[in-house]
């Protein structure tokens, strides 16, 4: 407790202008930055997978399974930062027991569950069922038991049953796309619906969140595909990589246009809150917004992939460039979440002053914990890839 107060006294000494006395304590920290970040990765990865499935984008085939499992691995931890940030985490089940129907946050719980249970798990199950049956006959030990159990006793492997799986899986994907949109659009709404905060309160927020989610998810799947190929020592399918990069380019462009639209709208209307937001963007957020989010996360990737549409370098250079671009995009989107969540709390709702954000290293809200929440899904993914490798599926051709 003393430590917390020390921290607040320090923040108090750094206040610039006037802020309401209750605003010195920043209520949402790193964990709430991670929450939309991770959810966005899920939605984005899933949408990439769905593109392949629903629109029959054949070149993306090598990434389909990876994208689905990536979505699952990240979805598994998506609510953890949120729950761990609660002051009373043990009461979190109340969100499901007695949800307040006017609360965006309460509804998110249901959207999340729906997406996890009804969409992602079912889709993966239908996609793998036949392989589980086949694998259960050839493997031993834990894997065998797992495959046996997970088939839920439905053991037919003939063509007819495979067709049925495929049809049902397709149906779920079709339902899944709007669900993924809903999932992340809703996260945007949690911020966009707060009229008290002019930095958050914009009708474009859900759609900006959605596109930035797709950007991050696509970049993540691209990176994971490259890394997995290296580890498996197989050739990266350049056509596939180029196509993903092209998608990344267009979605990033739309995302950037939407965000610019939002900014231009603010600048042109120059409402009451504009003066303080201007100072915010040019001061406290300059590094994270202009440099990290726009520079590293948007302009460089757009420039590089854009260039590749005209100038065709060697495959080696291209791969390296895509890899770096992927990382840049992921960093950029992380800072986009940062700029919204932290940025929105740096200025006072009195519109008359600023506070500062000082992150801590240890503790539930610290950098270390944040790193943990980002690394755990990678382990889960590694486990999933080991347990159900998409490249060992009978329907998979490299």
């Amino acid at each position: 407790m003393e430590e917390h107060f020390q921290h607040l006294y320090q923040a108090l000494s750094q206040v610039d202008g006037y802020i309401y006395p209750n605003e010195i304590d920043l209520h949402w920290g790193l964990m709430i930055v991670l929450y939309p970040y991770i959810t966005g990765l899920v939605a984005g990865a899933f949408i990439l997978a769905s593109l392949e499935r629903v629109f029959h984008v054949k070149v993306l085939k090598p990434t389909y399974g990876i994208a689905l499992l990536t979505a699952l691995a990240f979805l598994a931890v998506a609510t953890m930062p949120l729950v761990s940030h609660l002051q009373h985490p043990l009461r979190s089940y109340e969100i499901f027991m007695t949800p307040n129907s006017t609360s965006a946050m309460a509804i998110f719980g249901f959207v999340y569950l729906w997406y996890l249970m009804a969409v992602l798990l079912l889709e993966i199950w239908f996609d793998y069922r036949r392989d589980f049956v086949i694998w259960s006959k050839t493997s031993t030990g834990f894997k065998k038991i797992f495959y046996k159990l997970i088939t839920l006793g439905i053991n037919d492997t003939d063509e007819k049953s495979a067709k049925l799986d495929d049809r049902l899986g397709y149906f779920i994907t079709v339902v899944g796309i709007p669900s993924a949109f809903l999932l992340h659009g809703y996260v945007g709404f949690i911020f966009g619906s707060i009229k008290a905060n002019p930095w958050w309160s914009t009708v474009l927020m859900p759609i900006i969140f959605l596109f930035s989610a797709m950007v991050s998810g696509v970049a993540l799947v691209m990176l994971i595909y490259m890394v997995v190929s290296w580890i498996r020592k197989v050739e990266i399918d350049m056509k596939c990589l180029d196509t993903i990069a092209k998608y990344l380019f267009y979605i990033l462009l739309i995302d950037f246009v939407l965000e610019s639209l939002d900014q231009i709208h603010r600048i042109y209307e120059a409402e009451e809150s504009f003066d303080i937001i201007k100072v915010l963007v040019n001061g406290k957020l300059y590094i994270t917004l202009v440099l990290m989010q726009w520079g590293i996360g948007t302009w460089i990737p757009l420039g590089v992939i854009g260039l590749f549409q005209f100038y065709k370098p060697s495959e080696k250079i291209k791969k390296a460039a895509y890899f770096i671009v992927g990382i840049f995009v992921l960093v950029g989107i992380f800072f986009m979440r940062w700029n919204i969540v932290i940025g929105g709390q740096l200025f006072s709702k009195s519109l008359s002053g600023f506070t500062t954000f000082t992150a801590v290293y240890s503790g539930m809200e610290g950098y270390l914990m944040a790193a943990v929440w980002l690394i755990i899904p990678l382990f889960i993914l590694a486990f999933l890839l080991w347990l159900m490798p998409p490249w060992k599926k009978i329907s998979y051709q490299e």
């Binding site: 407790m1 917390h4 209750n22 010195i24 969100i95 006017t102 309460a106 009804a118 049925l164 008290a196």
Partner: protein, 258 residues
Amino acid sequence: MGTKGINNRRKFFKASAAIIGGSIAMSIMKPFELMAQKKDESENIETDKLPLWGMGVDIERCVGCGKCAEACKIENDVPKEPFYFRTWVEQYTVKKDGEVKIESPNGGIGGLKQSVPDDDIFKSFMVPKLCNHCTNAPCVQACPVGATYISPEGVVLVDDSYCIGCSYCIQACPYGARFMNPFTKVADKCTFCYHRISDGLQPACVEVCPTDARIFGDLHDKKSDLVKFLQKNPTEVLKPHLNTKSRVFYNGLSSEVR
């Protein structure tokens, strides 16, 4: 095996369809309810027979002694550190060059002192702040579990045993009236001293104010001091453009006040 398997799968699919259907109903229908503010759940209680509490603040009378903020902390066990306030007093100083300086060191406890030299001052005034007990309370709208609610007498309260400590209400309040209590770990805010007013007493801040700058009363009672105050003075609420329909009314509110 073929047909049996497919039958099994049908069963499985039916079961999942039921789960899916249920979830759809929950997740798809719910958002639509968001379109509107939730109806007051206490509607069927005969609210017109109950008082409707509100407060008037007379800016011209406030001298910035900070007694109200101090009394509130003592009465309601508000942590003494200067980051937690159920009520506080702001000092506004408009300088001759047009610059507006706002200050509220320790919420005004101990009395506010002018830091701008007399010669530079165009005008100066004090503004006591507290939860506005909004009729359309954004905090109530945002709380995911319904731990924040409006009592039948119009007082916005937090159920300590229910709040999960998500801070969403704090983000949603446009007035900075809420804080996360570091000891109870739940959202905390002005209750109009609900325990006192239920016993026919005045809120602590009103009781101690030496200049009667705060007027507490029943908005339903046409003879109450508050209703008379509203009749006599042109009053305004804070941030009216946000349509929170606040029940704290200010007399003498200058446009510099945020």
